[in-house]
C-alpha cells in the first residue's frame, strides 16, 4: 500500500481511484477519481440523485464501494470493521438531518464518542465539548436536549460533536438543506470559520455563495460521474460542460 502513496509535498488526505458503486442494479458511482490534499476545501454539487451524497458517504464507509480504491490518510477502506471504525474517528461527518442523539443532552452528545472510543476522562471530554460548543456559539444550550433546540442550533451542535473527535477531515452532507431559511446563515458562518482554520473539508451543498467564498475546488457530479471540477472562479464564470451550464442556470437564478 505504501508504494501506492505518491510522494508529494502536500500529502493527500483522501484518494479515490476509479470508485464504482451499485445500489442493486443501479450504477450510482461510475469510476470516480478524486484526490483531496490536506487542508483543501472541496464543494460537491449536482442534481438530486446524481450520487453526490453517496460519494462522500463512501469516504467514511457509511456506504461500501464495490470497485476501485479509497484511501483516507493513506489507509485503504476495506471490510475490516476495526480499521473502518478507526478511520471514522478521524473523519467527522455532518448530516442533512443532524442525527443528534435525542436521548442524550447536547453535552453528552459531544462527549459520548471521546469518552468511549478515545478513552478520554469525562472531565477532559466535557471541557473539550464546552470549548467546541463555545466555538459554535451555543455553550448555554449544553444541558438541553437536542429536540429543544432550533434546527440551526442542532446543526451547530452536530458540528461541535464531530469536532470533539479532533477529526482530520470533515464531511458535510447537505448541512443546510433541512433548515429554515433564516437559520442557514448561522450554520454557514460556522463552516466558514472552520474552513479558515485550515480544516480539510468536503461539502455537498447547493449554497453557491459558500462555494465561492471558501472552496478551493468545486466539483459538479451528474449521473455518478464527476463531470467538471475547477476552482470556483472559472467554474462559475466559464463552465465548460453543457450539463454544468444547465445545472448552474437552474440553481443560480
Amino acid at each position: 500500500m505504501s508504494q501506492a502513496m505518491p510522494e508529494t509535498a502536500q500529502p493527500l488526505a483522501i484518494q479515490m481511484q476509479d470508485v464504482h458503486k451499485w445500489f442493486g442494479r443501479f450504477h450510482v458511482l461510475k469510476g470516480v477519481n478524486l484526490d483531496v490534499s490536506r487542508g483543501e476545501r472541496i464543494v460537491v454539487c449536482g442534481p438530486s440523485g446524481s450520487g453526490k451524497s453517496t460519494l462522500i458517504r463512501c469516504i467514511n464507509r457509511l456506504e461500501a464501494h464495490q470497485r476501485g480504491r479509497i484511501l483516507v490518510e493513506g489507509v485503504e477502506l476495506t471490510d475490516d470493521t476495526r480499521r473502518v471504525d478507526e478511520i471514522r474517528r478521524d473523519v467527522g461527518m455532518v448530516f442533512q438531518h443532524f442525527n443528534l442523539f435525542p436521548h442524550l443532552s447536547v453535552l453528552e452528545n459531544c462527549t459520548l464518542s471521546p469518552i468511549w472510543t478515545l478513552r478520554m476522562p469525562q472531565k477532559a471530554a466535557e471541557e473539550r465539548a464546552m470549548h467546541f460548543l463555545e466555538r459554535v456559539r451555543i455553550p448555554e444550550q449544553a444541558h438541553k436536549y437536542p429536540l429543544q433546540l432550533s434546527g440551526g442550533q442542532q446543526q451547530r451542535v452536530a458540528i461541535a460533536r464531530a469536532l470533539c473527535m479532533s477529526p482530520k477531515i470533515m464531511l458535510f452532507d447537505e448541512p443546510t438543506s433541512a433548515l429554515d431559511p433564516e437559520m442557514v446563515k448561522e450554520v454557514l458562518d460556522t463552516m466558514v470559520s472552520l474552513a479558515e482554520e485550515g480544516m480539510t473539508m468536503i461539502c455537498v451543498t447547493h449554497e453557491m455563495g459558500f462555494a465561492r467564498e471558501v472552496a478551493d475546488r468545486v466539483a459538479f457530479i451528474d449521473r455518478g460521474e464527476i463531470v467538471e471540477m475547477n476552482a470556483p472562479e472559472p467554474f462559475f464564470a466559464h463552465p465548460q460542460h453543457e450539463r454544468t451550464k444547465l445545472f448552474l442556470s437552474q440553481i443560480l437564478r
Binding site: 471514522r88 474517528r89 443532524f98 442523539f101 459520548l112 472510543t117 436536549y145 429536540l147 460533536r161
Partner: protein, 401 residues
Amino acid sequence: MASRASGAYLRTSVSPDLPPPARVGGPVAWVRENLFGGVLSSVLTVLSALFLVWVTPDLIRWLFIDAVWSAPDGEACRAPGAGACWAYVRAKISFFAYGSYPRDLLWRVDLTLLLGALLAAWLLWPGARRKGLGLLLFLVAYPILAYNLLHGMADSLRAVLRGLADVSGSAALADVAQNALPVVGTNLWGGIFVSLLVATVGIVVSLPLGVLLALGRQSSAPVLRMVCVVLIEVVRGVPLITVLFMANTMLPLFVPEQWSPDRLMRPLIGVAIFASVYMAEVVRGGLQAVPKGQFEGAMALGLTWRHRMALIVMPQALTTVIPGIVNSFIALFKDTTLVAIVGIFDFLRAVDTQRLDPEWAGPSISATGYVFAAAFYFVFCFAMSRYSLMMERRLARGHAK
C-alpha cells in the same frame, strides 16, 4: 388601531391577550365535554351511571358490610346473609403466602423476599445512585443468596465452611457447616412466594435474553440469524402450557440424570424461554423504530458496534417499546399461574385447594378466595403499569418540545 390606505395594511400595536371564554375551562365545561359531548356519549354516560348504581351497593355490602372479618372457623361465614369471609383469608394467609414451606423456617423466605424487594426498589427508584452495583448484586449475588436461603445451603458452600472449620478448629463453624440452612425440597414450596419467584425469574431472564435474540435475528451472520428465527418462531408458535409440559417431560430426557433439573427448575426454564421470545419480538419492533440516521450518526463518530448498540440504539429502542415490554411482563406475571399444570403449587393453586377445607367450606369461601387472588394479581399488575407510565414520562423528556 390600524391605518388603511389603498389596500395596504399596517398594524401599529400588538393586540392584547383576552381571557378564554368560560366554556373552555371549569368543571361545568369538563362535564359537558367529557360526559355529555354528544348523543352517544350522553346515552353511555347514563347507562354507565345506572349500572354503577345497580352493582355498587351490593358489592360494597358483600365485600365490607356483611363480610366476616374474624372468626375461629367457617361457622359465622356459613350463616345466611353473610358476605365475604375475610376470616378465612386471615386464617389461610400463611398457606397462601408460603405453601407447605416448614413453618419454623419461614424467616428464610421472608428474608429473601425482603432483600429482593430492597434490591428491586434500588434499581427501580428513579435517580437512585450506583445502579450498576445494584444490578450486579441483583443478577449475581442475589440469586446465589436466594438459592442458599430458599432451597438450603449448597453442598459446595458447606464443603468450604467445613474446610474453614477444620483449618480454624472452630466447633461453632463446623456446626454451621453441618446443620445451618437445611434443605427444603421444592415440593414443599408454594403460594405467593413461588408465583413471585417464577415471575421474577421470567422477567429478569427475558429482558436481556430477548434483547440478545432480537439482535441475533437482525444479525448479518446467517447461521446466528437462522438459529434465533427458528427459536423465536417455534416457541412463539406453541402455547405456554405445551412449553411447560415439554420442559417438564422432555428436559429430563435430554440431560444426563445427575444433571436433571429440579421439578421447579423445569417450568422456570420453560417460562423464561417463552417470555424471552415474546420479548425478542417486542424489542425488534423497537429496533425498527430507531431511525437509520441514529445508526449512521453513531457510526460516523467511530463508535464500535457494541457501543452503538449499547449507548445509542438500545436506549432509544427500549424506551419506545416500554408499553410493549410492560405488557409482556404483566402477561408473564399472570401466566405464572399456568405452572400449576405441571404440579407447581403457585398462589392460585394454593387458594384453589384450600377452599375445600371442611373446617371452612361454605357458600362464600370460593368467591372470597378468588376475589383475594384477583386483588393480589391486580395490585401487582396495576403497579407495574403505573410504574411504566411514570418511566415513559421521565424518559420522554428528550423528545419533549
